[in-house]
Each structure stands twice: as structure tokens, then as C-alpha cells.
């Protein structure tokens, strides 16, 4: 009969949860039932409320009592519970994230008020390893977990940017403000030497970590294959995840943690877990953000009359002869005072940039108990770009249910559906070339109006760009425990993604002919995983855990484009196909994919008294993309952990709460083989006997011996927390060697082929990571203060190059086509940082003519292109001492990879108020300020239709004797001759160190009693600001808004500042 009671009560409680509306009635019923049993078993009805330290009630706390202990009830939405237990029982209160609380009832006590303390130690945290949750205490790898709360109060399209500065070793640079795009992410330094594109558009192949979202691996580098010359929508896959739905984010850094994820995980793993249904009573939570995006300060420009006066003065003062003066007269916008626009002053930049007002809405409904729970999350996010005609909208619906009728069986179903709509204007998204050019138009030019069209302006603002990405991803997981400790799980997901882009450029923006671009992409990923796990304890001390799984993956991708260079008029936008003559090709893009992959992995873990832990894992990855010689790549890993706080000899170190030492080693292997690299590329070319011929493309020699890139990583870590968890320290040091790195070698011109893709390059990254958290105030104080500082030092060193280079390879930029090229070279030299620049060394400006050195043998001054330098010209170091500035004077200088990255976070709460400040820093990194170089170069043509910038603020040479930094800008004809503002000099190289206040959030949680009277369960309002302020010595606008190669380019999309007001409502 007793056992009947114990079974019955949970059901009653569950019933209460399901029928919240009839609560009163049920409570009465409960009273009756309890009363009945009380009579029979001398039981007491105990009721009470559970609070946390801030006197806020906690719903969902499990109340356990009896012998053996059994869960009897859980607290309702108001934190109340009511149970029937024998007199004097001991009640145990358990809730995730809180320290277990035991209360022994005094005889006759019927009410109890329980205060539960938050568990400050991260020991009980759960981490995910190889798709299986494990206790963090037993984890040998290096990882950091971030809760969803830390990423909820600042509305962003891409949640990744909120991780900036939160994880030591995770280097995130928010280097674009383009809505829906993402910045760059690297875990533990550089892993590639592959640079595509040229000049300013040099694009370092992104090596983003593997994202695993609710168990489904996702390639975050999708849509980045084409560098800056992007094809298709280019919506980052991460922009499709609504931040409100994120429960936790875990970042895996070392090879022990990542090796189980195989070859895709060589650059680290970021695991995102979305929220689960977690409320006995169904609840509705609504989040609203209303935010303003403001463009950063725009470039100062001289307007109208000032511009004209400056140009005229410049011409008069620096004319080389009569002809220049005649040119002035022939330039009407400078000299024709009868011109109707003579005093015109158009602020071009304000025509392109704007402040926008945006909002996001998110509704989450969840409910259920451990047996059955569900959640639905519906989100809408819209962000209009600070550049007109750009923006990003996201619609998302994530549904999930879990059903576990008993301890053996569990079923999970989930569907994620997202639509991302993006507008890139006429730019390629990351680059806004039209806006950059248009914004630099002379203010004397009449602005766009009813009867005036400006090609840049029309192109940027009237181009119809409509693109969207639709993703649907159903997921099902079934898990069954055949016998205690042994569990089999099957996980299945299918992702289908459709990407479309339509761009219509009106005639006025394209030499009087409208043009059309269309992109159509389909991508699907079938993913299935079967896990077998077994956990067993031998004796009391020996625990083993075995996790074996296999994965099957099938990926398909086919993207195609259509380009029609001339269409009849602006009205006829399609259907197209009227004239093949103006079709400019298209067809299937080269990122076509038809891949089948299978993986097998085995992970075993052994621990002795949870004190000594050994992890061994091994994974085989096979892919149809690998060559037959390297069909399977092997990823082994070993991890060791010593929880030394559990040692007896440290028992008297009371101040040590937790301490562990970790060591790990592992290998991740990434196949480099593609069909093209291994077997060569065949083109339809020429003909033979009247038949179409197919011949080998001689650009690239097939290399069947291509080896997979192998990343070997060692990690040593020390974790400890001291003084009642007031101080937490996590330290890691690592050595990561990337070997067999892909390297493109140019072949001699006596060989039939142009280049060889080899993999004889290697990089080493090593560094230290430290995270330090302090909670100085006592837990009972109404104030709660937490300060976290973290930092990482990473150095990369080029280990080797193909032997015949002798230790150095220079990636020379060359002039190509008619576009202005940025001849900024890179040098790869063994033993030095991998991303070094190869530039001329600028040492200031010649104050007087006599400062220019003279060749003692020839009597000629130091010269360039045969023209001697003079006062006002840049001092460019004549490195080889031949008194001629040429390609022999380049030197290795700078490093585009930052040495230090990190951040700090402060969290203050007082009663309902909360204040969060997050900051991040990047230090010791070279930036080339090409935007400034561009601006100085505007001065070289005073007759041209470009704006001029005020130069007063610059330390520029103006007259003989001036010791200055920047060469003389007004002598326009000399600029053409000696090119003082050449891009390939260190004048533009600056230290890109910065400290950025990422965001500030001020929140207030209303008193529950008050809001309940309004019919709301919970109300929290907050204001937040993102991209608050950047402290930096950098002369440009934003040291972060630069390419991964460290170049601050004018065409970049500025990162806006966000002001937000938001609220969380819970019903």
C-alpha cells in the first residue's frame, strides 16, 4: 500500500502540471487524498516554498524523501510544493545548477521555507564529448561552456559575435557589419596558408570550427569558397539560429575534445544546444528587442566651396606649367562660376549610410516533465543595414519534443525551419565597392534628383537584390537501454537548404543597359549516427565508460548561376532568355558536392575514484572525396586527468575547492584530396578528326600523392577554484602542429603545367590561455559581483615549405586588369610568423632635399624610377644600399595574426537589477590602413570628380624642415611620378591592438508579486548597447573592421553601434 502511495503521488503531481487551470480543484483533491493516507500512515502534510538567494522562488525543484529516497514532487510555478511524508523526515531538494539542500523536519513541522544556493563551481557541469554528455569533472580535454543567458540580451543576427572575448583561445573578429554575414573565427591560431583573391581582396581561407547544433554537424564556412567575390546569398549558416533558443554553447579546443568529431573538427568544435522543454506548467515566454543601429562616424570630407578652394589652391600652387593652369580653366566644376551647381555641396556619404530601427520577436512555449516535454520557439528578426538597400530578415521555427516513458526508452524529435532573407544591395555583401566609390564622389557634383542620375548611386540604391536561404532540418533520436549501463542510440537528421538570389541592376547603373544575375542552389545533408554506450563501475573505485559510434553522411550541393549582361529595359525583369548574345555564362559553380562519408569511432574512459581519469579515443573517417590511397583518415587521442583535490594529502588545504591537472594529445586529419587535385581537370577544348576534343587543363598538375593535412595537438591544463569558489582559474597551454598543409607551388615555365598543389608546408601554433574568475562578495550579500578576465597568447611559426624554396616563399601581388591593385605582398618564411607582410620600410618624410642620400660613386640621389627623391617625399629605406628604390628593398615586416586575444566580463546584480559589461581585446597585430592610403591618393587628381579630405589633422610635411609622418599630398603631379602613397610600404602598417567594450546590458527583473498582479509570471526589461566603444591607438575608424589579412579596406562594411530596449515576458 505504501508503494502504491509513492507511485500515485507523482502521477497526481503530473496531473497538476498538465491541468494548471484546474489547480484549485486539484489541490483540494490532493488534500483529500493526502488526508486519506495521513490517517492510515501517520504522515504529515508538509508545504513550503523554495527560494534562491535573491528570494526569488524556484519552480521545478525536485523534492525527494523516504528510504530509499524517491522523488515525491516538484515545486510549481510559484516555487511551492506540498507533500505528505512521515513525521521528522529528511527532505532533499535538488535542482540543476543549485547545491543540493537537505532539510530535516522537526516533529510537527508542516511548513518549510527553503533557500537553495546556486552552485558556483562548474564541477557538476555537463560537457558533451562525442555526442554523449559527460561530467566535466571527468573530462580530460580543454573546453569552455557558455550559458545561453550570456548571449540573449544583445540582438544580433549571428550569435557567434557575442562569444567574442568570452573564451580564451577563441579569436573572433567582428570584421564586417554586413547583416547576416559573419566575421572571422579561429580557435588557437592560424591553420592555413591558402590565400585566394588578390590585393585588398586577398582572402585567407577561413578555418572556422565545426559547429554541432543539437547533434548535427554544420559547416560554418559554407558560402565562403569564393572569397570576397561571393556567389549566391552568402547567409552565414550561423545567422539562421535564433539566439533566444540557445541553452548553452560549448567550445572544444584541444584535440582530445575534438578528435571524436573527426576530420571536420580540426579547427575546433563549437557545440550549440538549444533549449529543452523544462516546465511542469506550460509557459509562454516572449522576448522583444527594439534596436537602433547607427553607422560609425563617417569619413570627414571637405564640402562645397571648401573643396573647390582647396582644389584650386592645390593646382595653382603646384602646377608644373602652363598646361596645368589651362586644365583648371577647362574644368568647369572648379572654374565656371555660372554653373548652376557652382556652390553645390552634396553629402554623398549620408545618401548611402543611415541609422536604422529594427526589431526582433521571439515566442517560446514549453512544458512537460522528464517523461514528456516539448518546446516550440518561433522567432522573427529583422535588421536593416546601415548601408541603404542592405538588410537581413530571419524567420525561424524550432520544435522539439522528448518522450521517455521509462528509464530505458527515450525518443526525441525536432524540426528546425528557418528562412533567412538578405539584401546585399549591389555589393558582394562583405564588400560594398559601389558605396565606397560613390561615397567618395566630389561634393561639387549634384546629388541624385528627379532629373539627375548617378551610376554609383543608382547602382547601390536601386539595384534589386533579393536573396533567401531556406533551411529545414528534421531530427529524430531514439535511445534504448538494453541493460543497466548499456544504451543504444540512433540519431538521424536530414537537412535541406535552398538558396536563391536574384539581382536586377537598372540601366542607369550599368552603362544604360539593365542586367540580371540569378543564383540557384540546393544543398542537402543526410546524417545518421548510431551510438552504443556502456558505463560500468567495478568495485567501488573503478569506472569505465565506452562510447562506440558510427556516422554516415551524404552531402549534395549544386549551385548554378545565370548572368544576362543586357536586358531590354528596366521594366522587363524576366523571364529571361530572349537573347543568348548577351548571356554571360553561369552554369554550375565549382563548389559542387556529391560526397558520401562514413566514420567509426570508439572512445573509452576509465577513472579511479574519479581521481585519475584516462580517455582513449580513435576515429576513422572515410569519404568519397579522399583519394583511394587515403580513403580513411585516422584520428587518435589520449587524455589524462588528475583531480588532485581529491588526494588525501591535500585534505588540509581548505582553501582549495577543486583542482585538476589535464594532459592530452590528439591528431585530426583533414583530407585534401578533391577529384580535381588528384586526377586533374579536363576541359572541352579543340577538336580532333572533326570530333569535340577533351583535354587536360594544364593549369594544375594532378597530384595523386596528395597527403591529408594532419593537425597534432598537445594540451596541458590546470584548473582550480579557491576560497569557496570565490576564485576560479583555468589555465591551458598547447602546441598545435599543422603538417602537410596545402601549398600551391608555381612550376617552372619549362614544365607543361602551371602549378603543383603539394602539401609540404607546415605551421606550428603554441600558446597559453588563462581564464580567471573572481566572485569577491559573500553569497549572502544582496550584491553579487563576478569579474572574469581571460586572455590567450598565440604564436604561429611557419615550420616548413616545399624544400626547393630554401625556406622562403613570397606571394607577390601583381597588377592585373585595370582595377587599382594593392601591391601588398606576403612572405612565408620558415621560422617566422606565417602571415608576415613583405613591404618597403617607411622611415618618415625627407625634411629637406639634403636629407636624401647620395651615391658616392655616381653622385646621384636616391631615386625611384629614375626620379630623385626630394623634400616632402617618403623616406623609404634603401635596404640593399644601391640608391635606387626597387623590388630589392622589400623586407619582411609585421604579422597579421594577433598575438594576444581575450576579454573581460563584469556581472553585477543587486536585487532585481543586473549590469553586464563585456569587453574584448586583441593586441599585437599589424593592420595595413589601406583606407587611409586611398584617402591620401584622392589628392593626386584635383581635376577629378573625387572628394577631398581635410588633411589638417595629419602630421603631413608642408614646408622644408618639417619632420612629418605623411608625405606632401598637394603636389599632385609628383604623386603620379614618385607615388609617395604607394600601398606597399609600412607607412600604412599600424598596430591594430584594441580594447573594445563589446556590450553593456542593464536589466531589471520586476518583483514577482507585483507582476503576478498584472497576470504575468515574470517580467524583465533591459537596455543594452553593442559595439559600445573601442580604445585603440589605430588611426583608422575601427581596428577590428579589417580583413583576415589585416587590411583595412575602404570597401568594407562598417560595424554599426546598436542601442537596444528589450523585454522578457513570461506567462
Amino acid at each position: 500500500m505504501k508503494s502504491f502511495t509513492h507511485y500515485l503521488i507523482p502521477y497526481i503531481v503530473a496531473g497538476r502540471a498538465l491541468l494548471a487551470a484546474k489547480q484549485t480543484f486539484l489541490t483540494v483533491t490532493l488534500f483529500l487524498v493526502n488526508g486519506l493516507f495521513y490517517q492510515l500512515y501517520a504522515q504529515t502534510i508538509v508545504s513550503g516554498v523554495v527560494y534562491d538567494q535573491k528570494k526569488i522562488t524556484i519552480p521545478g525543484v525536485t523534492v525527494i524523501a523516504g528510504n530509499p529516497p524517491k522523488p515525491l514532487a516538484s515545486t510549481n510555478g510559484r516555487g511551492e510544493f506540498r507533500i505528505s511524508v512521515p513525521d521528522g523526515s529528511t527532505l532533499v531538494f535538488k535542482f540543476m545548477g543549485y547545491i543540493e539542500k537537505r532539510v530535516t523536519l522537526k516533529p510537527g513541522q508542516t511548513t518549510v521555507s527553503v533557500v537553495m544556493e546556486e552552485d558556483q563551481s562548474n564541477l557538476e557541469e555537463v560537457v558533451v564529448r562525442g555526442f554523449v554528455s559527460r561530467s566535466k569533472q571527468l573530462s580530460t580535454g580543454s573546453s569552455v561552456t557558455i550559458s545561453g543567458d550570456e548571449v540573449k540580451d544583445v540582438p544580433v543576427a549571428n550569435v557567434e559575435q557575442l562569444l567574442q572575448g568570452k573564451v580564451p583561445g577563441l579569436n573572433i573578429q567582428v570584421n564586417t557589419g554586413a547583416p547576416g554575414f559573419r566575421g572571422s573565427t579561429q580557435i588557437r591560431g592560424l591553420s592555413t596558408l591558402t590565400v585566394s583573391g588578390s590585393g585588398n581582396e586577398s582572402f585567407l581561407q577561413p578555418t572556422s570550427p565545426l559547429y554541432v547544433i543539437d547533434g548535427v554537424p554544420l559547416d560554418a564556412d559554407g558560402a565562403s569558397e569564393f572569397g570576397f567575390q561571393q556567389q549566391g546569398p552568402g547567409v552565414s549558416p550561423l545567422s539562421m539560429i535564433p539566439q533566444e533558443d540557445i541553452a548553452s554553447i560549448e567550445i572544444l579546443k584541444d584535440a582530445q575534445a575534438t578528435s571524436l568529431y573527426g576530420s571536420m573538427a580540426a579547427y575546433g568544435v563549437i557545440i550549440i544546444t538549444t533549449k529543452r522543454g523544462n516546465s511542469e506548467i506550460p509557459r509562454v515566454r516572449y522576448t522583444n528587442n527594439t534596436f537602433m543601429k547607427a553607422p560609425p562616424a563617417l569619413r570627414a570630407t571637405l564640402g562645397g566651396n571648401l573643396e573647390r578652394q582647396l582644389k584650386i589652391q592645390q593646382i595653382l600652387a603646384n602646377a608644373r606649367g602652363e598646361i596645368n593652369l589651362d586644365d583648371l580653366i577647362k574644368t568647369p566644376f572648379l572654374s565656371d562660376s555660372l554653373n548652376a551647381y557652382y556652390n553645390n555641396s552634396t553629402d554623398w556619404q549620408s545618401l548611402y549610410y543611415r541609422t536604422t530601427y529594427n526589431q526582433s520577436h521571439n515566442i517560446a512555449i514549453d512544458g512537460g516533465n522528464p517523461t514528456f516535454n516539448y518546446k516550440a520557439n518561433l522567432g522573427y528578426f529583422t535588421e536593416k543595414g546601415v548601408i541603404r538597400n542592405t538588410g537581413f530578415d530571419r524567420y525561424s521555427a524550432n520544435l522539439r519534443m522528448e518522450y521517455a516513458p521509462n528509464e530505458k526508452f527515450k525518443f526525441t524529435g525536432q524540426i528546425n525551419a528557418q528562412i533567412g532573407k538578405q539584401n546585399k544591395g549591389d555589393g558582394a555583401g562583405l564588400l560594398q565597392t559601389g558605396v565606397s566609390d560613390g561615397g567618395a564622389t566630389s561634393t561639387l557634383m549634384p546629388g541624385p534628383s528627379f532629373y539627375q542620375a548617378n551610376a554609383d548611386y543608382v547602382g547601390s540604391l536601386r539595384t534589386k537584390n533579393n536573396n533567401d536561404v531556406r533551411v529545414i532540418r528534421p531530427v529524430a533520436e531514439v535511445s534504448y537501454s538494453i541493460f543497466p549501463g548499456f544504451r543504444a542510440t540512433t540519431f538521424f537528421s536530414y537537412e535541406f537548404k535552398s538558396s536563391n538570389e536574384d539581382t536586377f541592376t537598372p540601366a542607369a547603373a550599368n552603362n544604360q543597359f539593365a542586367k540580371v544575375y540569378a543564383f540557384n542552389g540546393r544543398e542537402s545533408n543526410l546524417y545518421s549516427r548510431t551510438n552504443l554506450t556502456y558505463a560500468k563501475t567495478f568495485g567501488d573505485d573503478h569506472n569505465i565508460f565506452i562510447n562506440a559510434f558510427n556516422e554516415v553522411r551524404k552531402g549534395d550541393r549544386q549551385n548554378s548561376i545565370t548572368r544576362q549582361e543586357r536586358t531590354p529595359n528596366d521594366q522587363f525583369q524576366g523571364p529571361l532568355g530572349f537573347d543568348g548574345y548577351y548571356s554571360r555564362g553561369g552554369g554550375i559553380l565549382t563548389n559542387f558536392l556529391d560526397e558520401r562519408a562514413v566514420s567509426f569511432a570508439l572512445a573509452t574512459s576509465y577513472d579511479y575514484q574519479k581521481k585519475y581519469v584516462v580517455d582513449l579515443s580513435y576515429r576513422l573517417d572515410g569519404s568519397s572525396g579522399n583519394g583511394f590511397d587515403n580513403l580513411y583518415s585516422r584520428n587518435p587521442a589520449i587524455g589524462l586527468r588528475w583531480n588532485f583535490d581529491k588526494e588525501e594529502f591535500l585534505d588540509n588545504w581548505d582553501w582549495l575547492n577543486m583542482g585538476a591537472l589535464r594532459l592530452s594529445w590528439g591528431i585530426n586529419v583533414i583530407p585534401n584530396g578533391t577529384l580535381e587535385r588528384i586526377y586533374g581537370k579536363y576541359d572541352i577544348t579543340g577538336n580532333y578528326n572533326g570530333q569535340q576534343g577533351i583535354g587536360l587543363n594544364f593549369d594544375q598538375i594532378p597530384n595523386p600523392n596528395l597527403k591529408p593535412t594532419t593537425t597534432t595537438q598537445y594540451n596541458a591544463g590546470l584548473d582550480f577554484s579557491l576560497f569557496n569558489n570565490k576564485v576560479d582559474v583555468i589555465y591551458d597551454t598547447y602546441y598545435k602542429k599543422v603538417d602537410n598543409l596545402l601549398f600551391e607551388e608555381n612550376l617552372s615555365n619549362t614544365v607543361a603545367f602551371g602549378k603543383l598543389i603539394s602539401n609540404d608546408a607546415g605551421i606550428v601554433n603554441y600558446g597559453h590561455e588563462l581564464s580567471f574568475t573572481i566572485r569577491p562578495l559573500s553569497p549572502s550579500s544582496p550584491f553579487n559581483l563576478m569579474v572574469t578576465v581571460n586572455g590567450a597568447y598565440n604564436r604561429d611559426v611557419l615550420l616548413k615549405l616545399p624544400a626547393h624554396y630554401g625556406g622562403q616563399f613570397i606571394r607577390f601581388e601583381t597588377n592585373s586588369g585595370n582595377r587599382e591593385t594593392y601591391l601588398q605582398h606576403n612572405v612565408f618564411r620558415v621560422g617566422t610568423p606565417s602571415l608576415s607582410n613583405y613591404l618597403l620600410i617607411n622611415e618618415g618624410v625627407y625634411a629637406t632635399d639634403d636629407d636624401v642620400p647620395i651615391n658616392p660613386a655616381t653622385g646621384l640621389r636616391y631615386s625611384v624610377n629614375g626620379v630623385p627623391f626630394r623634400a616632402g617625399d617618403p623616406i623609404i629605406k634603401d635596404l640593399n644600399g644601391d640608391y635606387v628604390l626597387d623590388a630589392n628593398d622589400y623586407a619582411r615586416t609585421g604579422n597579421a595574426s594577433p598575438l594576444f586575444t581575450g576579454g573581460l566580463a563584469t556581472n553585477i546584480t543587486y536585487k532585481g537589477f543586473g549590469l553586464n559589461i563585456n569587453a574584448s581585446f586583441t593586441a599585437k597585430r599589424t593592420i595595413l590602413n589601406n583606407a587611409l592610403a586611398d584617402r591620401f591618393n584622392l589628392m593626386k587628381d584635383p581635376f577629378g570628380l573625387k572628394a577631398v579630405i581635410p588633411l589638417d589633422e595629419f602630421n603631413m610635411w608642408r614646408q622644408p624642415g618639417d619632420v612629418a609622418k605623411y608625405p606632401y599630398a598637394y603636389d599632385y603631379s609628383r604623386i603620379e611620378i614618385i607615388n609617395p602613397y604607394r600601398y606597399d610600404q609600412t607607412l600604412w602598417a599600424e598596430d591594430g591592438s584594441y580594447l573594445k567594450i563589446n556590450n553593456v546590458v542593464l536589466s531589471y527583473m520586476f518583483d514577482k508579486k507585483l507582476v503576478r498582479s498584472w497576470g504575468i509570471n515574470n517580467l524583465r526589461v533591459y537596455i543594452s548597447m553593442d559595439n559600445v566603444y573601442t580604445f585603440s591607438g589605430y588611426s583608422g575608424p575601427n581596428p577590428e573592421n579589417v580583413t583576415t589579412m589585416g587590411r583595412d579596406i575602404s570597401e568594407g562594411y562598417p560595424v554599426p553601434r546598436t542601442y537596444n530596449i528589450g523585454c522578457n515576458l513570461e506567462f
Binding site: 594529502f649 591535500l650 588540509n652 588545504w653 590546470l718 597551454t733 602546441y735 606550428v764 603554441y766 597559453h768 611559426v797 611557419l798 615550420l799 616548413k800 630554401g806 625556406g807 622562403q808 613570397i810 612572405v827 618564411r829 620558415v830 621560422g831 617566422t832 613583405y838 632635399d849 639634403d850 636624401v852 647620395i854 651615391n855 658616392p856 660613386a857 655616381t858 653622385g859 646621384l860 640621389r861 630623385p868 635596404l879 640593399n880 644600399g881 644601391d882 640608391y883 630589392n888 628593398d889 622589400y890 623586407a891 619582411r892
Partner: protein, 371 residues
């Protein structure tokens, strides 16, 4: 034993030890960087570093740069050193390294200096090895070299191995050392002026007539350019070419100058001087970059700085790297048309001294009179 263990246990608890422990860990981590076995950061010295040509044939007596290395992007600065200089038969070579005073530039010659002193202030005399390699990897043979100091190639035009000078070049930077072997230096004997088609390059003697090289009674001459110069007897334009040499030029030293004089004279067919004043349209002040002009009826003399021209900087006295002479006179031609006649010569003089340039009208005098 038990006691000992207890002691150890007590010691473990001592906070001093934790501090020590942290220090040990920190020092250990420092040591780790050595464990990484990284290649050292070093400068790059390309194995492909080379010179386009390793045979240098400079002319003695002229300051000139020879050769420029293709460094294949080796890290600068590079240190160059000439080693193992020897003749082809193994005898050591020392003559080219002897120290001699030679002009080195310290200021920029512009062509607008107004006195010799101003020019001389821009250069100084320094002791230099006659042949040396510069910081840039270019070689220099200084102008102080003479046939006496450096034996030129044999006058019999042979080019035997034992007469050639060989040397190796050692190139170093922090990244290592390379040796480029077997450079050859085969100097031409001094040719003190240009044009020098009247000198035999091997012997230094008189050059034979290009049209009749085996005739010892004929020789080659320097020839000026002539425009509108009409012979007084033939009434035809005077010409000077391989076949007919109405006017020739002698560039030769003269005695009795101050050591840096330059004279111009004009000779009649009988080798008597024509009064230079007859070249009435000549811009004497802009003729050469000289000072203290002395006009006599026999010559016009300047104080000049040698070599002429001083550098390759373009000035109003030069054209295409040579000094430019232009003598002119005008006369009334037929129909009262004024015609201007020009006699020009582009020349260089390398050796310091007193030089005269003589325009010899060998066949007939030019016609200065009006028609």
C-alpha cells in the same frame, strides 16, 4: 618510515610549497618553447642568388658601377666580400685593391653651381681601393685607376687565362653564407675621353681608318656634327663622315694650364687658329659648365671640374649623359635670308687635367661672310 611520511604530508600543506610549485611550473613552461623544436627565426639567403654576368670589362680611369646581383629576395642588408682574387694561373691579384685617393660625392651636383668651389664642396677625395664591392653588391672601379696602377688587357688583343683576374664573392647575412665563384675582371685600358674612335682600344695608339684599316698612313678622327656650315671655296655644305672629313676634332691635353682648364679652338686648314669670336652666335656662357672664361683670338678657355660631365644628372650643358657643345654663327644667305650654322660635339673627358678640344677645318675654311 611512518614518521617520514607524516613529515612529507605536513610539508605538502605548507603554502610556501605551493608558491614554489607554481614557480616550477612557470619555469617549466618557459622551457617548453625549446621543447617545441621550432625552426629558428632567421634571415633568408637564397641559394639562387646570382649575377646576370660574371665577367666585367670596365674601362680604367672611369668611376663606374658594375653588375647588380639578383638576390632572389634574400634578406637585406647582405654583406659582400671579394675573396680569393687571383690570376687565371693562380698568382694572387693585389693591384686592383690598392688604396688610391679618388673623388666621392657627398652632395648632389645640379648643374647650377656658380663656382668651382661650390662644385668641389659637393665631393671630396677619399682613399679607396681601386676596385671594390659595395653594400648593394654592385662593384665599383674608381676613376683614380690608371693603366699604370692596373695593368689593362694585353695590347696584342689576346685574352689568355693567365692574364685575366679572377675572384670569388662571399655573400653573408645572418641566415648563412654563399660563395659565388669565378668572377672575371678584364679591364680595358684607359680611354680618357669620348668619342674616342681615334684611339686604338688595345694599344692606346692611333686608331686606323675604318674604311682602310690596314693603311698605316690613314687614321680615324673624331667628327663633329655640322649644320649649314658652308665652305668658303666650294660654297657647299661641309661634310664629315667615313669618306670625307672636312672637319675633324682633336681632344688632347695641353701644357701650361692650371690643371683644370678646358680650351676650345678652331683651326684653319693650315693649322692656324681661327678667332672664336667669329662663331658669333655661340652662347659662350652656356657652352660648358665652366667658370673664369678667357676669350682670346686663338681659343676660349674655362676653368672646369673633371670629369666632364660630372654626373649623369641632366643639366643645360648635357644631352644624353654627355657634355654638349654647340658653336654657332650666322650670316646673310641668298635673298637676304639669315642662316645660322652650327658645329656641335657631344663629348666626355674622364681624366683630370688641361684639355683642349680643337675643331680642325681640314679642307677649307667655313664661310662667315654674308652672300
Amino acid at each position: 618510515m611512518d614518521n617520514l611520511f607524516k613529515k612529507v604530508k605536513l610539508q605538502w600543506g605548507n603554502p610556501l610549497y605551493s608558491v614554489l610549485g607554481i614557480m616550477v611550473v612557470a619555469i617549466g613552461l618557459q622551457g617548453c618553447e625549446k621543447l617545441y623544436d621550432l625552426p629558428e627565426e632567421q634571415e633568408f639567403l637564397s641559394p639562387n642568388i646570382n649575377y646576370p654576368s660574371q665577367i666585367f670589362e670596365p674601362i680604367i680611369g672611369r668611376t663606374g658601377e658594375l653588375g647588380a646581383p639578383n638576390t632572389d629576395n634574400s634578406t637585406k642588408p647582405l654583406k659582400f666580400e671579394i675573396v680569393n682574387a687571383r690570376y687565371g694561373d693562380g698568382r694572387p691579384v693585389t693591384d686592383i685593391f690598392q688604396q688610391q685617393p679618388t673623388y666621392v660625392w657627398t652632395g648632389e651636383y645640379t648643374g647650377i653651381e656658380t663656382s668651382l668651389e661650390e662644385i668641389e664642396a659637393k665631393r671630396k677625395i677619399e682613399e679607396r681601393p681601386l676596385f671594390e664591392v659595395q653594400e648593394s653588391g654592385k662593384f665599383v672601379l674608381w676613376g683614380a685607376s690608371t693603366n699604370e696602377l692596373i695593368t689593362p688587357r694585353p695590347a696584342d688583343s689576346s685574352n689568355l687565362v693567365q692574364d685575366r683576374r679572377y675572384f670569388d664573392l662571399k655573400i653573408t647575412n645572418v641566415g648563412g653564407e654563399r660563395i659565388i665563384r669565378d668572377f672575371q675582371l678584364i679591364p680595358w685600358r684607359e680611354l680618357p675621353y669620348e668619342p674616342n674612335n681615334d684611339i686604338n682600344r688595345y694599344t692606346g695608339g692611333v686608331a686606323p681608318d675604318p674604311k682602310d684599316p690596314r693603311n698605316p698612313n690613314k687614321r680615324d678622327y673624331i667628327r663633329p656634327s655640322l649644320t649649314n656650315v658652308i665652305g668658303v671655296e666650294s660654297n657647299r655644305n661641309l661634310v664629315t663622315n667615313d669618306d670625307q672629313k672636312d672637319v675633324v676634332v682633336y681632344i688632347r691635353p695641353f701644357e701650361g694650364g692650371n690643371g683644370h682648364n678646358l680650351r676650345f679652338s678652331f683651326w684653319a686648314p693650315d693649322s692656324t687658329a681661327i678667332d672664336p669670336a667669329k662663331f658669333n652666335e655661340t652662347r659662350w656662357n652656356d657652352l660648358v659648365h665652366g667658370f673664369n672664361r678667357v676669350n682670346t683670338t686663338e681659343y676660349v678657355q674655362y676653368d672646369v671640374a673633371y670629369p666632364i660631365p660630372l654626373t649623369t644628372v641632366a643639366t643645360k650643358y648635357t644631352t644624353g649623359g654627355s657634355a654638349k657643345l654647340e658653336f654657332a654663327y650666322s650670316r646673310l644667305g641668298f635673298n637676304n635670308v639669315r642662316t645660322t650654322a652650327y658645329i656641335g660635339l657631344n663629348f666626355k673627358i674622364f681624366r683630370e687635367g688641361d684639355w683642349e678640344i680643337i675643331f680642325h677645318f681640314r679642307r677649307e675654311l667655313p664661310k662667315f661672310e654674308d652672300e
